[in-house]
């Protein structure tokens, strides 16, 4: 096992990987840009090195500087987390060239799966079902029009070297194509430095179902069941769960085997996820493979009992998987709510500010993976994910009711968060009964619900407001912040004991 590893990431995922390292007795090295100096992940590490870069983000993407720090610090391996360099084949290669172990797949697997066109070809060859579409990189709007006509509307535009919903656009009719193509190109260029776009048949309102797989360097492959990540806003997941309400054990088995074949086809090593679109007729189509740990990995951890981040480190250290397919058993149900600094009342617009008060829920069946604390400043430099709240229950309804009580107690002041939205989803009949797809927020979720939640407490709020006005007017707040004088009580208690 390694003695020391570097975590080339920030926020909650850096903390999560460091926890795994600590439990394995491995020291963690954090890297951080000056703006992140006070973030919890820096101070959770055993060692921390500052990144020098023009912008905060550039530091976390600076392959050479990160490898230099790894060498200087004596780190033997690098965990990339998700985002940043996690799916960058050049980084994986640069690590290998420097004699540092990359905790993730080999460059080849990242490269193939990072290229939608190559990935589709490979998957088709491996017998993995794929969505009808082109294998051509398109930068010309006229060519895009031709292809869209062939496929038939609706079509989906995707950044050809993208991921995470950036540069993605649905187009329902030809008149919308031009504007959407422009926007997709702009976003794609900024996010990935490549403005080529890929077109495919748009599967309307599918479920997003993905299979977690894991593979060691000794040719052992295991699938760990599915996650249903259909609750999305802006094509980005916001609530995930395992297992899915729509899979039978047979279908789970079948999709698991397909996912393992997909992984084998690219010689995959380490933890990875094969994403599928799942339509109303229970057909599933390969969407993409994420060659890294996912944000939503905790729901799989919770129902399997495995620690995926620890498994990743052990695999990179050359260990064999300590379990086989037959050992994997699922227990109960787990849900994750991503807590974003966004305003659900205003189209999930990201919010910034300083967290001036933070109170986290706890107790049975509740897990929090957080990257923030009271006093943390949420800036504009990075994605606005603050923390992940994960619940477990012996069945889905218990997981939901536990999530509800946890969300209600989760208090974050200073920035707007997705918590009220997630609370409303937990109460939503379609979500509760499991009938939902990726169109849930657009088609099923009535944002008026959030306003109705207010009406429930109108009267109590009015009473507090009335009290507030009186206090403010008299400038007289009848609250004793000072504790009652203790010696009075103590004296009384002690006297009583003497008599007793």
């Amino acid at each position: 096992m390694f003695k020391k590893i570097l975590i080339a990431n920030r926020g909650e995922i850096a903390v999560r990987v460091m926890r795994a390292a600590k439990e394995l007795g491995v020291d963690s090295v954090a890297i951080f840009h000056e703006v992140d100096k006070e973030m919890p992940f820096v101070h959770y590490a055993d060692y921390a090195y500052k990144l020098e870069s023009e912008t905060p983000k550039a530091g976390y993407l600076d392959i050479q500087q990160i490898i230099d720090i790894a060498k200087k610090s004596g780190a033997e391996a690098i965990h990339p987390g998700y985002g940043f360099l996690s799916e960058n084949a050049r980084f994986s290669q640069a690590c290998a060239d420097s004699g540092i172990k990359f905790i993730g797949p080999k460059p080849h697997a990242i490269e193939v799966m990072g290229n939608k066109t190559k990935a589709r070809e490979l998957m088709a060859k491996a017998g993995v079902p794929i969505v009808p579409g082109t294998t051509e990189k398109i930068t010309d709007i006229n060519r895009a029009k031709e292809i869209a006509k062939e496929l038939g509307y609706p079509v989906l535009l995707k950044a050809s070297s993208g991921g995470g919903g950036k540069g993605m656009r649905k187009v329902f009719k030809q008149s919308e194509l031009s504007d959407s193509f422009d926007a997709a190109q702009r976003e794609s260029l900024k996010a990935f430095g490549d403005d080529s776009i890929y077109l495919e048949k748009f599967i309307e309102n599918p479920k997003h179902i993905e299979i977690q797989i894991i593979a060691d360097e000794h040719g052992n492959y295991v699938h760990l069941g599915e996650r249903d990540c259909s609750i999305q806003r802006r094509h980005q997941k916001v609530i995930e769960e395992a297992p899915s309400t729509v899979l039978t054990p047979e279908l789970r088995q079948q999709m698991g085997e397909v996912a393992v074949n997909a992984a084998k086809a690219c010689g995959y090593v380490n933890a990875g996820t094969v994403e599928f679109l799942f339509d109303k007729n229970k057909n599933f189509y390969f969407l993409e493979m994420n060659t890294r740990l996912q944000v939503e990995h905790p729901v799989t951890e919770r129902i399997t009992g495995l620690d995926l981040a620890k498994e990743q480190i052990c695999i990179a250290a050359g260990e064999k998987l300590s379990f086989s397919q037959e050992d994997i058993q699922f227990r109960g149900h787990s849900i994750e709510c991503r807590i974003y600094a966004e305003d659900p009342f205003n189209n999930f617009l990201p919010d910034t500010g300083v967290i001036k008060y933070l109170r986290e829920p706890g107790g049975k069946g509740v897990r929090i993976d957080s990257g923030v604390e009271t006093g943390t400043e949420i800036g504009i430099y990075f994605d606005p994910l603050l923390a992940k709240l994960v619940s477990w229950g012996k069945d889905r309804l218990e997981a939901i009711s536990r999530m509800e009580r946890a969300l209600k107690h989760y208090t974050i002041k200073g920035v707007k968060t997705t918590i009220p939205f997630e609370l409303a989803v937990m109460k939503h009949p379609e979500f509760r009964y499991g009938y939902f797809d990726t169109g849930f927020i657009e088609n099923s979720f009535d944002f008026e619900v959030l306003s109705k939640m207010k009406a429930e407490h109108d009267e109590l709020i009015a009473a507090i407001a009335a009290y507030g006005y009186r206090i403010f007017r008299g400038s007289q707040v009848p609250i004793t912040n000072s504790k009652p004088h203790t010696s009075k009580w103590k004296q009384a208690e002690l006297m009583l004991r003497r008599q007793g």
Binding site: K166, A183, R186, E187, K190, A191, R234, D343, N346, N347, L349, P350, D351, T352, G353, K356, Y357, I380, F382, D383, P384, K408, T411, K413, T417, I419, P420, L423, L450, S451, M453, K454, A455, H457, D458, E459, L460, I461, A462, A463, I464, A465, A466, Y467, G468, Y469, R470, I471, F472, R473, G474, S475, V477, P478, I479, N481
Partner: protein
């Protein structure tokens, strides 16, 4: 303290105070016992209303409206102008609200103006996209809150803007 009328969302509460008892308040004739149990820090309080516990944040916005936040929801309380003035002296004023206020379109967060979709003098409908601001790698269309006319545009495409910067002024019909 004399009685006042509070308005929350679209409901009105006629409020009567008890001269001798701070904690007794009548709303539309119905009595409530209000007790302030605890202060958590900056503007966050734990109240018991008829023994029912609520943790709320109390702030006053730039227009002297009291904002009560509870369970992630914000309630705006309207009162008479006279009451607002008194209030301003005692409670900390919150960071000004962002987004749209009256006919002013403000930046809801720091970002860059990617595209301006209307011209001065243009007529816009409620819900029409006015301009696109990029922040945290995502493009966000700012939409018109009213039907009206574009009075003036205060920014240019490609311009970086601070939170709350005035972007555009509308004249509602």
């Amino acid at each position: 303290m004399e009685d006042l009328v509070l308005k929350i969302e679209d409901k009105e509460y006629y409020t009567q105070y008890d001269k001798n008892d701070y904690s007794t308040i009548k709303l539309n004739g119905k009595p409530f016992q209000v007790e302030l149990l605890k202060k958590y820090g900056e503007n966050i309080f734990s109240f018991a209303v008829n023994q029912r516990l609520l943790q709320v944040e109390l702030v006053v916005d730039e227009n002297q409206n009291l904002i009560v936040s509870f369970d992630g929801l914000s309630y705006q309380i309207d009162v008479t102008n006279e009451t607002k003035k008194m209030l301003g002296k005692f409670v900390q004023t919150s960071a000004s609200g962002a987004g749209v206020r009256g006919g002013q379109i403000k930046a809801p967060m720091p970002g860059m103006v990617v595209k301006i979709l209307v011209e001065p003098g243009a007529e816009v409908h409620k819900g029409d996209s006015l301009l696109i601001v990029e922040a945290m790698k995502m493009e966000n269309a700012l939409k018109s809150p009213v039907r009206g006319k574009v009075k003036s545009i205060k920014v240019n495409e490609g311009e970086a803007v601070e939170k709350d910067a005035l972007l555009m002024e509308l004249e509602p019909f």
